[in-house]
């Protein structure tokens, strides 16, 4: 078999350095945490900054194209016989690396302020750097196993960071939940790997894609396996339940891992495996549908949340639904584009919310906010640009990518998905502006008794009380540390979409060699009309949000209306459409029941009981043997005589006495 390697083989020290630097940072922060103190944050941020610079310097290597070999390929080591592990930097992984290191750097920088004073400050940056290393492993790997290694390691980093405040039982439980669900995804990818390994005999991307035809009908199985992995990591139905809980982690974590990068790994995986997806229309149908449904369900659930981070979490889920729908149906460019813009605006939104949370001493319930526009104008601007981008207001970044995805669904022959995409856009506008109105408009409700707002158990309603995180008044980090990254993010949040504008945009040029030309069908409506529909939907959503939360009438009776809404919240929405309960009953409870049954019943009673019977019967027989030893000579003599009689009888018969 001839080895097919994607990318131009060579020696790329920059590539290896940018990959390993975060690992070095993690090790340093972990090992010398107590000595480094606040320096750990700067160290963590600096490694990422350097990696980001190296990424930019590697740009030309990543986009080089010589005779079909696209990007840079660096061989590293032979993992097991026959499987070499290497790094591959091509336009696709470059985009991810760009976001991971770039946005990652900003978030690290922000964290220096946000995490200031936390007693595990160094540990935080160790985990964060480790995450970046793992994520880079994921996107830079040139084979499925390496990808899976990165896949597992980001899951681990996510686990650590969700459970960062591990004294809190809720954080611990959320971390475990996230990890276990992600392992479901890992094993599904493992299964896909088995199929690929058995059918193709190789695991390098180049080999596999070059010999994809050998998969035959199994390609659908492979795609499903990979997609289950993607669904778990990217919070697609029905494996999304961990993502809202993951908001237990510090807000920068939510911004980096649970919004900008890790959760989009599923999108990367599908885009990376575009050669497989493009030959399986069943897989396209399945993935596109689930993506669209996830977008819709995420948006619907987003309308029912009170915790600002959970609103953003459901919005993340919904937006990733868009991306998955895009890459799923075959609109790879559009899906990846939405990842690109989403990374900026969602990071922006999370960091903005972090500013609020930080300022309000960890208050996360929007019912207890209100009127913050005057107090925190900078946060308001940051959040507003983010919201405008996510809603897809033309001119803002989200508009270009989201419309590309929605139109892509239609262009690839999925009108239903197109419709869902448009409806979701409207709902998105509704819950996003709901958040804006509740947070920044009206009057401050933080001093209102929680019960008046319908909050029955304040400690359970997303207001964690973790003293160790709460910075001391006299020990605030300078405000600019958190403000600068947010300010910097405004630029791409607004303008990044312009890269995708036009027929021969920079974006499509950039990916021209990456993805095969897409097979589109004739569409009844044009892409411009799609934008018009989308804007209409957004306006509708905004209008409803305004009427319910932003209009003067609503503002006046805000407290009563919020209480009513809280109390009258439909059960299905309050319980997140019962996904959690269903998974719990189907898998968790069942497993525990089986475990109890086996451990309490079968082990002690059935198996040991049987063995005990045998042992007891041996002892009983021993007593029987003993019972012949009466101690009486005559009894012994009788036994002897009986024995003799038996012997004589046998011999008499055997000897022929008749």
């Amino acid at each position: 078999m001839i080895h097919h390697v994607m990318g131009v083989n060579g020696f790329y020290p920059l590539l290896m350095t940018l990959w390993l630097l975060p690992l070095a940072g993690a090790v340093l922060c972990w090992t010398f945490g107590p000595q480094l103190k606040q320096l750990a944050g700067w160290l963590g941020a600096a490694t990422l900054g350097t990696s980001f610079v190296l990424t930019l310097l590697s740009w030309s290597a990543a986009t080089q194209n010589s005779g079909g070999a696209l990007g840079a390929h660096q061989s590293l080591l032979s993992w097991i016989p026959g499987f070499d592990f290497g790094l591959l930097l091509d336009p696709l992984s470059l985009i991810w690396t760009f976001i991971i290191t770039g946005v990652g750097f900003l978030i690290h920088f922000y964290s220096i302020g946000y995490m200031h004073g936390d007693k595990a400050f160094a540990r935080f940056f160790a985990y964060m750097n480790f995450f970046v290393f793992a994520m880079l492993t994921l996107v830079l790997s040139d084979n499925f196993v390496g990808l899976l290694v990165g896949w597992g390691l980001v899951g681990l980093a996510s686990y650590f960071l969700i459970g960062f405040w591990f004294e809190r039982p809720s954080a611990v439980a959320a971390a475990r939940k996230a990890f276990v669900i992600n392992v479901v995804g890992d094993v599904a990818i493992m299964f896909a790997i088995f199929v690929i390994f058995t059918k193709v005999g190789a695991l390098g991307f180049g080999d596999v894609f070059a010999n994809a035809s050998q998969l035959g009908d199994w390609v659908f199985v492979v795609c499903v396996g990979l997609f289950i992995g993607a669904a778990a990591k990217s919070a697609q139905l029905p494996l999304h339940t961990w993502l809202p809980d993951a908001m237990e982690g510090p807000t920068p974590v939510s911004a980096l891992i649970h919004a900008a990068t890790m959760v989009t790994a599923g999108v990367y995986l599908i885009a990376r495996c575009a050669p497989l997806w493009s030959v399986s229309s069943d897989a396209q149908m399945l993935v596109g549908t689930i993506g669209a449904l996830t977008a819709l369900v995420g948006a619907i659930l987003g309308t029912a949340q009170w915790d600002i981070k959970r609103i953003l979490a459901y919005s993340t889920m919904s937006q990733i639904g868009y991306m998955i729908m895009g890459v799923g149906v075959g609109a790879f460019e559009g899906g990846v584009a939405h990842f690109f813009t989403h990374a900026f605006f969602k990071a922006q939104l999370f960091l903005g919310s972090g500013l609020i949370i930080h300022a309000l001493a960890n208050e996360q319930d929007v019912r207890r906010m209100g009127g913050l526009m005057k107090k925190m104008p900078f946060a308001f601007v940051a959040m507003l640009t983010g919201v405008l981008a996510i809603c897809g207001i033309p001119g803002f970044s989200g508009a270009f990518s989201k419309d590309a995805v929605i139109y892509g669904a239609l262009a690839h022959g999925h009108p239903w998905l197109y419709a869902i995409g448009l409806i979701t856009a409207g709902i998105t506008a509704y819950y996003m502006f709901r958040m804006i109105f509740l947070t920044f408009f009206g009057s401050y409700r933080g001093d209102v008794d929680p019960s008046e707002l319908g909050i029955r158990h304040p400690e359970l309603a997303g207001t964690p009380a973790h003293d160790e995180h709460e910075p001391h008044e006299h020990d605030h980090a300078p405000a600019w540390i958190m403000a600068v990254p947010v300010g910097l993010l405004i630029v791409p949040t607004v303008f990044a979409g312009w890269l995708m504008f036009g027929e021969h945009s920079w974006w499509s040029q950039f990916f021209s060699a990456q993805f095969a030309p897409e097979h589109t069908v004739a569409t009844p409506v044009s892409d411009v009309m799609t934008t018009v529909f989308a804007v209409a939907a957004v306006l509708a959503g905004f209008a409803i949000a305004y009427l319910r939360y932003g209009a003067p009438a609503a503002m006046e009776h805000a407290i009563e209306r919020l209480r009513t809404e809280t109390v009258r919240m439909p059960g299905a929405l309050a319980n997140a459409l019962y996904f959690d309960a269903a998974l719990d009953a189907l898998f968790v409870r069942t497993s525990q029941l089986l475990g109890t049954l086996f451990g309490r019943l079968i082990d002690p009673l059935v198996i040991d009981g049987g063995v005990r019977e045998v042992a007891l019967s041996a002892r009983w027989l021993g007593t029987l043997v003993r019972s012949f030893q009466t101690g009486l000579v005559r009894a012994y003599a009788l036994i002897l005589v009986i024995g003799v009689a038996c012997f004589v009888a046998y011999y008499a018969i055997a000897g022929g006495v008749h």
Binding site: T630, G631, L632, V633, R634, A637, L638, V641
Partner: protein, 104 residues
């Protein structure tokens, strides 16, 4: 007075009867001395067979064996008596059924 030849079977029959009497004595009697005597009966039953067959086979091994057995039986009786006396030195009557410390 006619001398009827006594068949070999008669000797064997006699010895078998003696032997069974001996066996029954060991099993049924409770006095150790009687038991020892019963054992002597068993030995002597064997002696009869030996002597009878020594004649039948014209082989003097049977005779020699019989003498051997008589000697051994005498030794056995001596030792047996000694042991019985030792065991029942203090008892008024002798009964093997009352000697059952060792059991189980």
């Amino acid at each position: 007075m006619s001398a009827l030849p006594v068949s070999l079977a008669s000797y064997i029959g006699l010895s078998a009867v003696m032997f069974f009497v001996g066996v029954a004595g060991v099993v049924l009697r409770r006095n150790p001395l009687v038991m020892l005597m019963s054992i002597e009966l068993m030995f002597n039953a064997a002696n009869i067979v030996f002597v009878a067959f020594a004649r039948a086979w014209m082989h003097n091994a049977g005779h020699i064996f019989a003498f051997l057995v008589i000697t051994v039986a005498a030794a056995e009786a001596a030792i047996g008596l000694a042991i019985v006396v030792a065991v029942f030195r203090s008892a008024k009557n002798v009964d093997v059924d009352e000697v059952a410390l060792l059991k189980g």
